[in-house]
């Protein structure tokens, strides 16, 4: 299929009705949980069979009080995959558990060339507000933002065929109690970014002699870096949209009240009535703008924020390949030294040390061989990963644009209804 065709749909996605409520789902019915999700994923296993796997993160609950409090989230899974014990199950997890999962996955898979989905960012400010017990709309918004981000994170993890096979991932989804993850400080948000940037600095300082096939890597890395910057800019523009939409909300409410006041003093009774109806219409407008701002944020802004971080993860993946290459280089140079050492011994005629030298050479020859295979494998994996990532990205963007269009559609439809209801009032003025 032509990848360039924006309208072609690869893999099979079963679309269900789009979910528009603002909070996490609160239904007790496990089934209801998944009808709310915007898409059901059919996963392909290695064998090519299709299975279903849906994940939802819901029901945020505050556990404890004061500065030791934390939010606990319900992670529900519904699946037909045989490797799971049940078809439907759920567990409770906290934010540090998700970070711990990332750490584990990263340690195991990043040197293999996998693109590891980054976890949501830590937020001291946001979390403190919640801990302190501030029951306002901004902390509710923060919790919802985090809940949605955790959900997307898990969905990305299980969408990755090799990660899905990882027993730690399975354990995360299935096991009732997890050991508390520690040392997650370094791995979220700014910490993660610092680590990635340090790695890329180190890489840049190395002088690398690469062969032909690596032009692909060099130019691809450049593409990724450029795209990251451009998406940042795009994200900033969407952020501005969200803020202006919120401003529009408050200005509309204020205007509505003002029109109501004007209507109350108007001496012509039909005009007075029309003005108070106009005030009500503007009130409804405000609600619609609110919903639209919500869509602007959760559908567009968060998508872009995710991809800025994902591109960072892609960069990190490239750097990991560099590390593998570096290890190979170092082994080759050590082997060279061992051979030189052997030659010196031969020349110096010291037969008793010769056997050791020969043993060393054998050891390092097999290491070099191993590392060569590793490097080839990583190179192959990274290429595959990048292609998979690009496909995912195109699909992700399209789905989100479609969702956004749907949200606009709903808003415009209600707008039409509001104004159509007002028109006879305006015409009734005499």
């Amino acid at each position: 299929p032509d990848e360039g065709d924006i309208f072609s749909e690869e893999g099979s996605y079963v679309r269900s009705d789009v979910h528009h409520t603002t909070n996490g789902l609160h239904s007790d019915e496990e089934l209801d949980l998944f009808t709310g999700i915007s898409l059901h994923r059919c996963t392909m296993t290695q064998s090519g069979d299709q299975f279903e796997l849906n994940i939802a993160v819901t029901n945020p609950e505050k556990i404890g009080d004061g500065m030791n409090a934390y939010m606990s989230y319900k992670v529900s899974t519904q699946t037909t995959l045989p490797m799971f014990l049940n078809k439907m199950f759920s567990v409770r997890r906290r934010f540090s558990d998700f970070l711990g999962l990332y750490e584990t996955i990263s340690a195991k898979h990043s040197l293999l060339g996998c693109i590891i989905p980054p976890p949501p960012q830590k937020s001291v400010v946001g979390m403190t507000k919640v801990k302190v017990g501030k029951e306002d709309s901004s902390s509710a918004e923060f919790v919802e933002k985090r809940r949605a981000a955790l959900e997307r994170y898990l969905q990305r993890v299980v969408a990755h065929p090799s990660l899905l096979q990882d027993p730690d991932v399975r354990e995360f989804l299935e096991r009732d109690e997890l050991p508390r993850a520690v040392n997650t400080q370094a791995l979220s948000g700014p910490g993660l970014l610092k680590m990635i940037n340090r790695a890329s600095d180190a890489v840049n300082k190395m002088t690398i002699k690469m062969n032909e096939s690596d032009n692909w890597f060099e130019s691809k890395l450049q593409e990724v870096e450029n795209e990251e910057q451009l998406l940042r800019r795009l994200h900033a523009a969407v952020d501005s949209l969200v803020n202006h939409r919120k401003e529009l909300c408050s200005n509309t409410v204020v205007f509505s009240k003002s029109v109501a006041m004007l209507g109350s003093v108007e001496e012509n009774s039909a005009l007075s009535r029309a003005l108070s109806q106009l005030a009500e219409v503007e009130d409804k407008m405000e609600q619609l703008h609110q919903q639209q701002a919500f869509s602007d944020f959760f559908i567009l802004a968060e998508l872009l924020a995710d991809y800025v971080r994902l591109l960072g993860a892609v960069r990190y993946c490239f750097e990991q390949r560099m590390k593998v290459w570096q290890r190979l280089q170092e082994a080759q140079s050590t082997l060279q030294k061992k051979r030189e050492a052997e030659a010196k011994l031969l020349w110096a005629n010291k037969p008793e040390k010769l056997q050791q030298a020969k043993d060393d050479i054998n050891e390092w020859e097999s290491k070099v061989s191993q590392y060569e295979r590793d490097f080839e494998r990583v190179t192959c994996t990274v290429r595959k990963e990048v292609l998979r990532f690009e496909k995912e990205k195109a699909r992700d963007f399209k789905q989100h644009i479609v969702k956004y269009l749907e949200s606009l559609l709903h808003t415009q439809h209600r707008l039409v209804k509001c104004w159509e209801a007002f028109l006879p009032e305006a015409k009734a003025i005499a």
């Binding site: 032509d2 990848e3 360039g4 065709d5 924006i6 309208f7 749909e9 099979s12 996605y13 679309r15 009705d17 789009v18 593409e223 450029n226 795209e227 451009l230 800019r233 795009l234 523009a237 969407v238 501005s240 949209l241 202006h244 939409r245 529009l248 200005n251 509309t252 205007f255 003002s258 029109v259 006041m261 004007l262 003093v265 012509n268 039909a270 005009l271 029309a274 106009l278 690009e390 990205k393 195109a394 963007f397 399209k398 644009i401 479609v402 269009l405 749907e406 606009l408 559609l409 415009q412 439809h413 707008l415 039409v416 104004w419 159509e420 007002f422 028109l423 305006a426 015409k427 003025i429």
Partner: protein, 449 residues
């Protein structure tokens, strides 16, 4: 058929001299269908004229319009064009160039004319305000280096459109002022009005600027004193008592509504701007991309460009139908209040003259003078009250009709825009999802549309 010729003499970033021409029949074209007119640039302008004050230019004996205007830096030169069958004018058709200050002079001389004390004086047109577009132009100039050529060209185009919008508004508001005068049986005969229309030399009123400023300041002080005066005066006439209460209250409320409407409209414009930046950023990302994703991004950029255009239209229509309506009537209410002030002063003068007469009779001195004075004050007051009542009654009717027309038109436009936006979203949605496997090609929740 192109009803309108908009020609730009030149649009250099620094000076941006701008010339706008409207077709000469725009102002006299009655009841044009809103739908068709809405997108032609002159259509909604002239329709606004009809909407704000619905009984203008119906009389062919004196027809005035502003078919042309030239903007250079801060000065706008309006071409005032008159067509008349009245013998008091020297020619049946003629045009003169006029600047904003000359309109103010005309307004002020009419206000200062004693005979017109019992009439509502049409509010003076506000000074042309190009501050918004001018600021934007500076920003554009500064940001030039950081944009692509296409972005720069697009922003410049939008900037010119904004200039044009401000320009049209100011032309319309100056035109309406003259048309209110020409359609009023008494004002149309005013000698200064005729001079304004006919005299083809400079009226030399610009010296008055400094005096104007002080005069204006003084006038405001006097006004607040008047406000105290009319609230303090004992009113005998039921009609005027009610008018006083109503106008004082209404005046502050409409001023508030007008300001709030302005803020709301500006937010809409900001949202449209954001869509523009999003579209631009998507295009930049597409330009840099060499994979299949590129075409997707270009398509998305197109979607946001369309959204921007639609949001822009919502914003400008809302401004014209709602915000401008409220602004205009804020000024008109003030003119009605001014009438009340003048009558209240006349009433106070009347009472003072009565007291003076009593005093004179008591003292036995200057009785005839005092009697004459009292007679004149009473006459003046009665005349003011009579014409004032007529004016205020027709003002009520005019206001209600204008609100009705604008609210209907605004609502119809909102419905139209929402429907167009809904349709466009539907089309794009269908395009993007049409190749989903099997029955999911047409998502179920589209059926309600």
């Amino acid at each position: 058929m192109k009803k309108n010729v908009y020609s730009y003499s030149s649009c250099i970033l620094e000076t941006l001299p701008l010339r706008v021409q409207q077709s000469s029949f725009s102002s006299t074209f009655p009841g044009k269908r809103l739908g068709q007119a809405a997108w032609s640039s002159e259509g909604f302008g002239s329709h606004w004229v009809r909407s704000v004050s619905v009984d203008l230019n119906n009389d062919a004996s004196l027809v005035i319009d502003i078919p042309d205007a030239l903007c250079e830096r801060d000065k706008v030169k309006f071409t005032v064009h008159t067509k008349t069958t009245l013998s008091s004018f020297q020619k049946p058709e003629f045009s003169v160039p006029r600047q904003h200050e000359e309109f103010i002079w005309l307004h002020d001389t009419i206000v200062e004319t004693e005979e017109y004390a019992g009439l509502i004086i049409p509010p003076a047109p506000p000074k042309p305000d190009f501050e918004g577009p001018r600021e934007k132009m500076h920003k554009l100039g500064e940001g030039e280096s950081s944009m692509t050529k296409e972005e720069y060209a697009k922003m410049k185009q939008e900037l010119e459109a904004e200039y044009l919008a401000v320009f049209k508004k100011t032309v319309q508001v100056h035109e309406v002022f003259l048309q209110r005068l020409s359609s009023h049986p008494i004002f149309r005969k005013d000698r200064n009005f005729q001079i304004f229309l006919e005299y083809d030399q400079d009226l030399s009123v610009r010296r008055k600027n400094a005096k104007e400023m002080f005069g204006g300041f003084f006038k405001n002080m006097v006004k607040s004193a008047d406000e105290v005066l009319i609230s303090g005066v004992k009113e005998v006439d039921e009609f005027f008592e009610q008018e006083k209460t109503f106008l004082l209250d209404y005046s502050s409320k409409i001023k508030d509504a007008s300001a709030k409407a302005e803020k709301m409209t500006r937010s809409h414009k900001n949202v449209a701007d954001d869509y523009n930046h999003i579209s631009g950023a998507l295009n930049s990302t597409a330009a840099d991309n060499n994979t299949a994703f590129k075409k997707h991004l270009e398509k998305y950029a197109e979607v946001f460009e369309k959204l921007r255009k639609l949001e822009d239209r919502v914003a400008s229509d809302q401004e014209l139908k709602l915000t401008e309506l409220l602004r205009y009537y804020t000024r008109d209410i003030q003119a009605a209040k001014d009438l009340l002030y003048r009558r209240a002063r006349a009433l106070a003068d009347n009472e003072n003259s009565n007291k003076a007469l009593d005093k004179a009779r008591l003292k036995g001195k200057d009785i005839a003078q005092a009697e004459e004075n009292q007679k004149q004050c009473l006459q003046k007051f009665d005349k003011l009250s009579e014409s004032g009542k007529k004016e205020l009654t027709s003002f009520k009717a005019r206001r209600v009709v204008a609100f009705r027309k604008n609210l209907i038109e605004m609502t119809e436009l909102e419905i139209k825009h929402a429907k167009v936006r809904r349709l466009k979203c539907c089309v794009y949605h269908y395009m993007f999802t049409r190749q989903c496997s099997g029955s999911h090609g047409k998502p179920g929740n589209m059926r309600e549309f």
